[in-house]
Symmetry: D2
Subunit: 350 residues, 4 copies
Amino acid sequence: MISFYNDYSEGAHERILDALIRTNRLQSGGYGEDEYCEEAKTLIRRHLRKSETEIHFLVGGTQTNTTVIASILKPWQGVIAADTGHIAVHESGAIEATGHKVLTLPHHEGKINAGQIERLVRAHFDSESFEHQVQPGMVYISQPTEYGTIYSKAELQAISAVCRKFHLPLFIDGARLGAALVCAENDLTIADLEELADVFYIGGTKNGALFGEAVVIASPELTPYFRYMIKQKGGMLAKGRLLGIQFAELFRDDLYFDLARHAVTLAQRLQKCIEELGYPFMLKSPTNQIFPVFPDELIHQLEEKYSCSYWDWGRTDPQHSITRIVTSWATSEEAVNSFLNDLQKLTNAE
Amino acid sequence: MISFYNDYSEGAHERILDALIRTNRLQSGGYGEDEYCEEAKTLIRRHLRKSETEIHFLVGGTQTNTTVIASILKPWQGVIAADTGHIAVHESGAIEATGHKVLTLPHHEGKINAGQIERLVRAHFDSESFEHQVQPGMVYISQPTEYGTIYSKAELQAISAVCRKFHLPLFIDGARLGAALVCAENDLTIADLEELADVFYIGGTKNGALFGEAVVIASPELTPYFRYMIKQKGGMLAKGRLLGIQFAELFRDDLYFDLARHAVTLAQRLQKCIEELGYPFMLKSPTNQIFPVFPDELIHQLEEKYSCSYWDWGRTDPQHSITRIVTSWATSEEAVNSFLNDLQKLTNAE
Amino acid sequence: MISFYNDYSEGAHERILDALIRTNRLQSGGYGEDEYCEEAKTLIRRHLRKSETEIHFLVGGTQTNTTVIASILKPWQGVIAADTGHIAVHESGAIEATGHKVLTLPHHEGKINAGQIERLVRAHFDSESFEHQVQPGMVYISQPTEYGTIYSKAELQAISAVCRKFHLPLFIDGARLGAALVCAENDLTIADLEELADVFYIGGTKNGALFGEAVVIASPELTPYFRYMIKQKGGMLAKGRLLGIQFAELFRDDLYFDLARHAVTLAQRLQKCIEELGYPFMLKSPTNQIFPVFPDELIHQLEEKYSCSYWDWGRTDPQHSITRIVTSWATSEEAVNSFLNDLQKLTNAE
Amino acid sequence: MISFYNDYSEGAHERILDALIRTNRLQSGGYGEDEYCEEAKTLIRRHLRKSETEIHFLVGGTQTNTTVIASILKPWQGVIAADTGHIAVHESGAIEATGHKVLTLPHHEGKINAGQIERLVRAHFDSESFEHQVQPGMVYISQPTEYGTIYSKAELQAISAVCRKFHLPLFIDGARLGAALVCAENDLTIADLEELADVFYIGGTKNGALFGEAVVIASPELTPYFRYMIKQKGGMLAKGRLLGIQFAELFRDDLYFDLARHAVTLAQRLQKCIEELGYPFMLKSPTNQIFPVFPDELIHQLEEKYSCSYWDWGRTDPQHSITRIVTSWATSEEAVNSFLNDLQKLTNAE
């Protein structure tokens, strides 16, 4: 079986394993207060511009989203998100478990826009019974989105402007940020995110690390005691150095971007070829997740050899389903070739 | 500098790194649903007796404590713990953040006993205003305790009996369980814990793994949907296989016990020699944490070369402080020899 | 100004005030453990059939919803509700503040149906990633709904059946239950609710009491220690007798039903006459809340003399808005006549 | 039976009932936005000095404590309180249910002092592992305390000073504030509380109202959206006017103080006479709760006629128990005389 099921099916890039081996017996302090984390922060800072910006390392995405959001929101506030946002649908109620409602907006290709946010906020404060409702307290978006799409610089500037107008901190979930930063459509840099958002994170788990997310807090006054919250929410790794070692390796040179580019290139090749074979798509994604629509019969044949997310993305009609195909830093050219060859054969055989 | 500050100052035992390298490019499912986790469970099960017992892998201790306790308690209940218990003092309010009070009992050398638990429960239900108080809902103990001491089989049987009498689930924090299981005083097996407790965990982070805790749920009816809770509380690692690979290696043969034995042996040698040099102890610990009482002047000299927890364990008088010294699977004989030699010299020089 | 803004604009029915005066200096126990509460329970029990059913008195609706829902749900569960449900939109995130998501279904005239619930539950457990989502844990409906509509016995039986099939406790918000029970369309009794639901409440605040909601727990095993939860959530009135005195008076004879009948009769007269004057409605309500659609210009004129909820229920087009008109136990015939006369004049003048 | 069990055994002072009757059929807005609440605020403001101070009305004490504390604390913070504080022992874990730990200090006669607070705060921030502990975030004291004792102006100034030094908001639970303000030992005014505390409340439930607590927020920047929180925590009464009507009556002239004086005078007479009969006390209280120590045999005789809290305050030796006797605005001279006569007879008979 070859898996395109997700981008966390393997271990880590070998350079990361090497770094872990190299440092293994050296002693350091616990809980992220070590030289490796310092080095990683220094390396990431080269992509940033503001001296006050803080960097913290957490283990996983749900944990990061929960810790950041619970740190920022006041107890009477909720977080605005797309109805397809990871926090709205795929975190087992982690945000609600910290006491906060997710205020959803209908997505367009996984995205929300500045106008929607402004209308929601205005409608809230214009209501006769606003105090009986959850006050919008911050905005969460994902870059790229759960549908693989990305926000352009203009879109993000508009969202950032409306957030600042209404004093809503803006938090960007960057679980797959690498894929957004390297894709052909992209016109945003990490420094742009630092300028336009209040908090964002640079995902490691889905881009070559064993695990790990680097949280960049561009507005540290929003959560002045973030380390207490990391600990409280279970994200403070005893051997915090493991996160520093990995992120230092990813950002020592362009490894982080190279790995993302590898994944995106293969996904885009898949998308282009599948399209040429005549299959429609739920939407066109510029990153490492693509969403072709296949006949169910075809899927039953593909399932024998390729693991994809075939049945969880809905149907377009009773005979066709949306399939999610994901590539990663570890996906091989051979795997892609194999899939495309088999798909061509199956297509011709119909 | 040589560190005896804690047992998580290094990476992982080399066999674990080797296993990570060996499996690195193999693909598997995410979120702990993979063959490595299955193998690890099978290997751990060899130490267990009940077929219904469940095993889950989480990343860290605070996360594990929070997830287990929040899964079991009813919203009107609290968890009984020693006032020195990790959940009572060193988890940044993680338990309270899930809505539950920690009902503390005064410890004796880090331990609580069955009589204390029974008196607390009786006092609660005998009170005129019991419904205005937090109902005791479960019991948390640590084995070994935060003071390095251990519960004997008789003590644990008594606690277990009172817990069952009052329908209080018993949860054992085994962050350093290896050290308890291999120490000279110990008369408990993993299967005993399975029989006497409802949930316990086998700590990996502090015994040779990069990270990871194996939660053993002997009474799965207490938390029938534990995986939702792991996800909600941020403990469901995307690359869950990393936990399986590590625990499989630790339990493939006796590596887990061998590593713990190494740590305990060195700590006991330190304790014995320090005692022979005439220093008193806060208490005598049979495991890998020891607590000598040193003159502050001596500490200032030791600090130059050895990292220990010198100042956070209190003073016995204005000139003497309790020092915590911890050994681990990675502590070298040389480090111990060096410390003892220096201590002897400094002692003679006084 | 005459107010049709809500059904809590006045104090209490005079018989309730009389009862408070009559008992004022008599001493009783606190926190609802008194003879008045016992009497009220006995009187309400005459409408019930099951001996195990419990009755508790709380102060207000949001408090009741929160206390019941937080008592029943497991920490990994959410509550299914209409997207117009009070808990979904008008309780300032009270449910989320206890850690639980409100899983909304699109309403039809304020209602949801058995089929929607079944599809939601099936979709959840059929999903590949169900453990990453909030597990549906109970169902909340309002009778009458926030739109004044009611569930028929057949509809409620269907909902109850699907709830039992999937082990989902069913909770009915009866803040305005009286209005449902006495309206012309109704074919349900309090005993039917006891049979079909697990918990429901009989609203006093909006039907003649100063305040108070009588929670009927038909399945007490769902929340065996409910009084702890009442206390924890701030609903345990020190002078709990006040609730007993009021509900005893409401249920000593048919006062509760008489007061509701008064309100519904006047609302239905308003609805009929407004319709005869040619105005459309958002929907036709059989209870004490009605929703005519008026031209904005007309509303500006009505606003001078009548307080209604004119602007918070949306517009049907740029010149017309939905108005909510509410009658109560205290609404006078004169007020209704005055409104209808003025409306006729304004209508003719156009 | 005559009850000295608590100060909420009866209804309300007759002037309050009269006011409810007088206003009963007048219409007003809901949720505390009505002229009665405005009038009550104006009347209370005559005792205050700062224009920015806000006043809100809530229903009960636990609700008020929870709402205020949950509004002010950051998610990584806990509230400092005496180990006898109401929030620490008698609110069914309400504070923890909002995610916060109660950080207890040992009480002296129900009180804590400035030195204890300072030491706790310093110890927290001096600890090597402070980020692994709950950060002290505010201070809660009760005036009078749960033991009937009061803080002097000098004591409160010292506490206030240390709170401001460490940026800890100070909240005073005034459930029985009237009794403190009128007692012989008192040297504090309401305006002093406004100056020295950030939030406090003026209890109505235990001083002549049916129910109700007036929350005075002297530092409104600490909780700028308090009404959302009142709603979320279930304290926003639909007929909020009921609170305004009651507090207006209590503060229209000196009724609030007169009622408290009545209660305190009778309690002090009881205390003096019981002492003259030779009985010791747990402590001497200047307010309306007193704590004599009686032989158990005597208690068994008293129990036949007088309801007091005999068994919940502990024993001083195997034959003697601390009894709590409480007087209220409604306690009659006759009841006090009767108790004292019977006590004298029983004492002589021994």
